[in-house]
Amino acid sequence: MMAKKKEANTKIRLATAWLGGCSGCHMSFLDLDEQLLDLFAAADLVYSPIADIKEFPPNVDVTLVEGAVANVDHLELAQQIRANSKIVVSFGDCAVTGNVTSLRNRLGVDDLLTAVYHEGPGNLPRGGEVDKVMPALLPKVLPLHQVIPVDATIPGCPPDPERIWTAVSALLAGKEATLPEKMRMFG
């Protein structure tokens, strides 16, 4: 059975995505170190900011989503992830609660852009015209589960590798990613 699982076509299709977050959760993911070897013996990484894949692929088994939903691009990717993934995991506090990314929620979007780009020191990078290149900010930064249904959460800022491994190894074994109390704390 184990040998069969290791064949490429029976491997679990794993994806990780990066929305409104600092990438610290992905750094912690890389801190799995030698457990990454066990992970990739059982799973193929089919989409990730640490792999150069442009489009979110279909038929993904498990997707870990770092970051909160802060702009229209995040919203679109989140919906695509949900449509193409069997299991979606909120990966880290920004995805779970909004966390630091949502600190701007007390400000309106216009006030926010003014405070950061117009009233700040130095020259403005661009004029006051509407920028057609950058994705528009949402009025409020939202945790992932308020945008799409989420199947599991890995809290932490960032979640330490032990938490990630506990959740991911359970998911790879087809079990629920329920974390023990010590691994459930935010922050």
Partner: protein
Amino acid sequence: MSVITLTLNGEMISGLTGQTLLEVIREHGVELPTLCHLEGISERGGCRLCMVEVNGRMTAACVTKANEGMHVNTHTEKLQNYRRMILELLFAERNHVCAVCVMNGHCELQSVAAAQGMDSVRYDYLSPELPMDASHKRFVLDHNRCILCTRCLRVCDEVEGAHTWELKGRGIHSMVITDLNGPWGESPSCTSCGKCVQVCPTGALYDQGSTVAEMEKKHDFLPWILGGRGKKEWNW
């Protein structure tokens, strides 16, 4: 004091008249979560986490006296569900951003949420704009982290005897204030004893200069002071 018998989660137990349900329940090894309760100061019954079912009716165990013949259930599905809702509402009401809080890793709200299995918040975060008061030379008040447990009010009034702290407003607009809502640093009644800071369960009150996860609080001064008072060991 006379002995009473009651039923706790289907088992017959005994307690003493005058004890609260919370005391009796904890004495029998059943853990109930609390946030506003603190040994040594009066009960408030405000956080509602210690709610139990007594003969099918919900009541806060910290403010209910144990009585003969009570049938008490502590962990029914309904109660556990309400406990999670209460915690989620606390997180949604103000800006509890654990990752950048001075009490990260030592906070009672954070640990109670983890213990009760709160994995996310189902309600919309209100993200209110709330001030901080850093006018005191030793301490800081951050309303963003305050859960209105009023431990600070009670310890200041009942143990320090200063009654610097009060509540203003109602419901979701309630805020803790010092004296007549002036800056803490200008409070004529505050003795700067720091008891309020030590009993605060979250990062709402902390020492000046603390940064993320640096603040830890100690409650052990309370039984020490109160015990000494009770035994008349303080003669000055």
